[in-house]
Amino acid sequence: MNHKFQEVDLMKRTLTSVLVAGALFSLAGAPAVAAVTDKDIENDAKSTGDVLSWGLGTQGQRYSPLAKINTKNVKDLVPVWSFSFGGEKQRGQESQPVIHNGRMFVTGSYSRLFALDAKTGKKLWQYEHRLPDGIMPCCDVVNRGAALYDNLVIFATLDAQLVALDQGSGKVVWKEKIDEYSAGYSATAAPIIAKGLVLTGVSGGEFGVIGRVEARDAKTGKMVWVRPTVEGHMGMKDGKENGVSGTTNATWPGDLWKTGGAATWLGGTYDPETGLAYFGTGNPAPWNSALRPGDNLYSCSTVAIDVATGKIVWHFQGTPNDGWDYDGVNEFVTFKSKDGKHLGGKADRNGFFYVLDAKSGKFQKGFPFVKKITWATGLDENGRPKFDPANRPGDPAKSADGKKGTSVFSAPSFLGGKNQMPMAYSPDTGYFYVPANEWGMEIWNEPVTYKKGAAYLGAGFTIKTLDSKEIGGDYIGAMRAIDPATGKIVWEVKNNAPLWGGVMTTKGGLVFWGTPEGYLKAADAKTGKEVWSFQTGSGVVAPPISWEQDGEQYIGVASGWGGAVPLWGGDVAKKVNYLNQGGSMWVFKLHKSGK
């Protein structure tokens, strides 16, 4: 374009004036392609014209400071456009879109990425990653979103690769392999950016992979540091050894740590104020806990990693020696308490909500956010669970035939009090908005040995619904407003099917979330009164976003039923098996009457 411009000018001007005109042209052109900087990302939670990170800010509060849409006018919220992800791949859309320069970048199932005009929904380009036939995602072919940095949009693929594309053209700029998909590795989480580094985890906890957090130069993809989340494994920084995670064999017997799991499959959050990245870690492998006496660090934990050094500063373990797949990857969301403390909240898959000091990880408070917890009777003063030994699935080696351990009924189910769907925090109300599920499971252990690329569970299980008398109704999902200061559930909105989409809250006093039944809903953030809903045509299992463009506030959410529930559903199937798959992006704004 520049070249052409100069050619035209050559005909009527002197060479000098052409050069001047050329220089002006490039200056004028520059702001239109403003690159995403670290400063932009650190300010993402406050800026309203863009959504640069998973979590609407790397702290993960999912709070929009926009109030143009509010409790009074939300009834006038109407669709602006809808975009189909197309093809035959209508499955499990768990993606949170990101917005920059009027462009929306949203990932779809099967490692696809779409660039759309945020205002009109017009497609700008799409990228479809070529996947090998042998990929092994445990829990559907999902992707949770992309990260933006510089002129790049970066996302992870089901065959465990990271791809960075030019935001304008959709051309691949760099691509790096995280690990071998044939060994069970995959990647579904949205990367986050901290200090010019792109931070990612790994999926594959059901295949005995090694959980870890990796930091690469976001512009080039070059590896900067690796921090394993299983004790005994060596970390690396700038190509050199950077210390073992923990102390080898301190909490793991024998060689089991070598295939120890603790996958960081939901990615992480980052708080620029502490300089720490917080990554949740999954279940230890295999599921059969009788094989691995000890706490099995750093499984089922939150690890806080200093982004500058690649070392673990603190960790907090929700479920030591996990025997129920209480895979604690859940996001750690930092916030300022009313008495001015810098804290973080986590609604763990094990049914407890933890409040920790953001800087030190010191336990402040813990309480159940689901109504039925069988495996522990409570937490001690350090937040460690008081186990009920009778509720741990039995050791198969101690059974009569050595093939099946004692079966127990446990709650929550292995799909958790909360799973991948991220919660939101409102600094206005001081509440966390947690998409919770009430369910249980029969679970028993079986003998197992590790084989590369094969499922490494050593357990059998089936999901059960709970007695409606115990939980106060015939439901599984419950959107709950939780006060981290008191541990009380302030309000709840029940849902027949399990909730699987994330949450967003706004300055306009609203909480938005989707349901498998296909609704995007809004409720009053203070009272929980439902004030708006819209049927998107397929189940919503993705978190909503909001941004402002040309003076108007927009709400967006991806729709498309899928994810882990229909794959592992057990008894729950009857609540969800009628739901149709889909794949589309919906965007809403306030209706204005025609003039």
Partner: protein, 250 residues
């Protein structure tokens, strides 16, 4: 006055100016295609740009085509197109020390003109081409590789051979890649988009931008004046960012 200028040029170059309707191949697409790829630049049909290929393609997914440019000085780049393919652009190459000659295999969706369009330093495009008849379907069928389970293991592997000569040498390479066009239902486009022959110092001797119509597991032949430079490797990548990097056999 404009017409007069063209006439002078015509006589001087010994080539035929390409106005709409004067296409020697009588292609219904030529006017649009010229506008799209060459814009307002001067275009001449030039016998020095030679395209070779079969009269009738035996296999629409593997049509052998050769492009040879002789006698033209300062060829900047050469664009190869197939007028009637659903994806018109086949490849673009630029010889920077290798001879401006390229042999390869491509897909044809139906009988079509196949043209080479060479841009010289003066901004003029020199066009030559032939009509290749084909039973068709080459662009909308899935690649063979798509149906095999192990395409991923051989992806980007390169086989090569050199035929050295004192006057002229030939280098032939074969790259494993499905080269899916994106036009077969449910199979996204997946193709090599850039290749270069580099010597040990990193100097490029030949660069090719490739597009979807290049055949699966592409084969290319390059010609060098005299013996090929030492330490030659083939480097490149596909549209997913998968890298190709292989030493060419000596």
């Amino acid at each position: 006055m404009l017409r007069c200028g063209i006439l002078v040029f015509l006589l001087w170059a010994g080539a035929v100016h390409a106005a709409a309707g004067d296409d020697p191949l009588q292609s219904p697409q030529w006017t649009d295609l010229k506008q799209r790829y060459l814009g307002a630049a001067r275009v001449v049909f030039d016998p020095q740009v030679v395209v070779t290929g079969p009269k009738v393609a035996e296999d629409s997914m593997n049509v052998p085509v050769g492009v040879k440019i002789s006698g033209l000085a300062d060829v900047r780049r050469v664009l190869v197109v197939a007028d009637l393919n659903p994806i018109v652009k086949v490849l673009e190459f630029s010889a920077q020390g290798a001879l401006p000659v390229l042999h390869f295999r491509m897909k044809l969706q139906q009988g079509s003109p196949v043209r080479a369009m060479a841009e010289t330093a003066d901004g003029v495009w020199h066009v030559g081409g032939i009509w290749i008849d084909a039973s068709g379907g080459g662009c909308t069928a899935p690649s063979v590789g798509r149906g095999t389970a192990n395409w991923h293991e051989t992806l980007g592997q390169v086989q090569s051979r050199v035929w050295p000569g004192e006057q002229q040498s030939r280098v032939k390479v074969n790259i494993m890649h499905p080269m899916d066009t994106g036009l077969a239902p449910g199979i996204p486009a997946f193709f090599i988009e850039r290749l270069a022959l580099q010597d040990a110092t990193g100097r490029e001797w030949m660069r090719i931008d490739t597009f979807e119509p290049v055949s699966e597991n592409p084969v290319f032949s390059f010609d060098f004046p005299g013996t090929p430079p030492p330490g030659l490797s083939l480097v490149g990548r596909d549209n997913n960012g998968n890298r190709i990097n292989a030493r060419v056999a000596q």
